[in-house]
Subunit: 147 residues, 4 copies
Amino acid sequence: MARDFSDPDMEARLIANSQRQGFNNWFGVTCVAAGNGQVEIEVKIRPEHRQHHGYVHGGCVSSLADTACAWAAATAARADVVTSSFTFHFLKPASGDGLRAMARTVRAGRTQATVEVQVYSETESARPVLCGTGLATIAVLPARVAA
Amino acid sequence: MARDFSDPDMEARLIANSQRQGFNNWFGVTCVAAGNGQVEIEVKIRPEHRQHHGYVHGGCVSSLADTACAWAAATAARADVVTSSFTFHFLKPASGDGLRAMARTVRAGRTQATVEVQVYSETESARPVLCGTGLATIAVLPARVAA
Amino acid sequence: MARDFSDPDMEARLIANSQRQGFNNWFGVTCVAAGNGQVEIEVKIRPEHRQHHGYVHGGCVSSLADTACAWAAATAARADVVTSSFTFHFLKPASGDGLRAMARTVRAGRTQATVEVQVYSETESARPVLCGTGLATIAVLPARVAA
Amino acid sequence: MARDFSDPDMEARLIANSQRQGFNNWFGVTCVAAGNGQVEIEVKIRPEHRQHHGYVHGGCVSSLADTACAWAAATAARADVVTSSFTFHFLKPASGDGLRAMARTVRAGRTQATVEVQVYSETESARPVLCGTGLATIAVLPARVAA
């Protein structure tokens, strides 16, 4: 499926930043598409992402959501960003073997953006299940003056 | 320092559950004290907890906060719980080599609890820095009838 | 426009409850449609709804959002409900002469529901402006046994 | 009781702004003390603040909380502010004849502040009851250049 918001330059920049992150490398975040205030990212679930009932740990679900929100805001702001706050509602246990987060910037301001996100649990043989939804405030960092 | 809310039986139960979690084993959560609606937990920071500026990744900060809230509610409810929703505000970058979360149940209801949490970044040589604060709604699961 | 979620019996019950509320009578909430987990409500703005720049006061915007969420959950639960928590993001000033809130239940559980809401500011001569978005946890109250 | 954060100049400015707000005049907000990032405000409850069970309407409880957060941030920023987002948890019904909100800025940044708030329901003859708690992000507006 084509993602019409895809911006290959932006995707390359987000992926390069992500590869320099110890956590994201461990987590295994993959960028499906990013650009114009929107993002779709996914992660393949491994045993160390799970909790004791076999579901994906809430910390992994919300981390993917948070990352999607920050990346979506970065594509809108075309600047460095950092999550200021986020609210996440867990709707269903994530029992599949993949997680997909779709984030969309609903307001892009000069110093902050508001982003909404949905996370889906996926299994090869079944329809994706909406397992959580959230809202984030992402702070846009002032550009650094080059030395 | 003595934690007067400590309940050793509850701590043993929480630790046993945690050790069966792939994510928590990877994350390295340690229970300092838990009981009577309160919890103090910590994690020693490793390179794979960090992002590209060297700070602890926001996903790790909020995961520790979420875990603290769920555990605090579990000690109040004396039942299995699951996070229903949480809101987290990032206040300062976590630049230290340890994170500590302190959670306190502000309302323990029959089907849900409200919990507040603070997360501190710690370094051996300096005062702890408050790096985030949050509020969570934790759902209390109905007891399962034994077979 | 037809609202296909409309449930006239449910609407009558919500309106009757609302008319017994001092605050809602003052506020002037009108039910456009309600049923099957969804709600559309509106309020005509009067001077005492505004703040000192002439915009609708944030307390009125979020009150309408909160009411829409509670009503949406009530139509899904077919029971009395009460707001447990809500998060609201203000996106644009509400400068129009009417406010419209659209709420949709995204998860209806036995003891709580998660509802999302959008609030629009409206003026006769212009397109509605999305002025805020939110997420709420609504608690479903246990049915009272009749005496 | 003395409020050591009280800043009379700031209080005068907040009260003057509030008196120009249709909503606040109707609501009846009184400033007990404000300054240095903190605020204590109260409202005497009238019938049009209540819902159909006789409790203070949630919209009034959260409006008071939101106002307290914005004012607290304004005293820290010494600038005009506007609520960007807030999360509020209702803990107990507000059955008293007064509401009191206490807000405290936990982080005051250049473009935004994070503020926590507690709301108490009060009756002459009984101890105050904590009826809600929240967290807000308050945006600090850029200063306008005088003409």
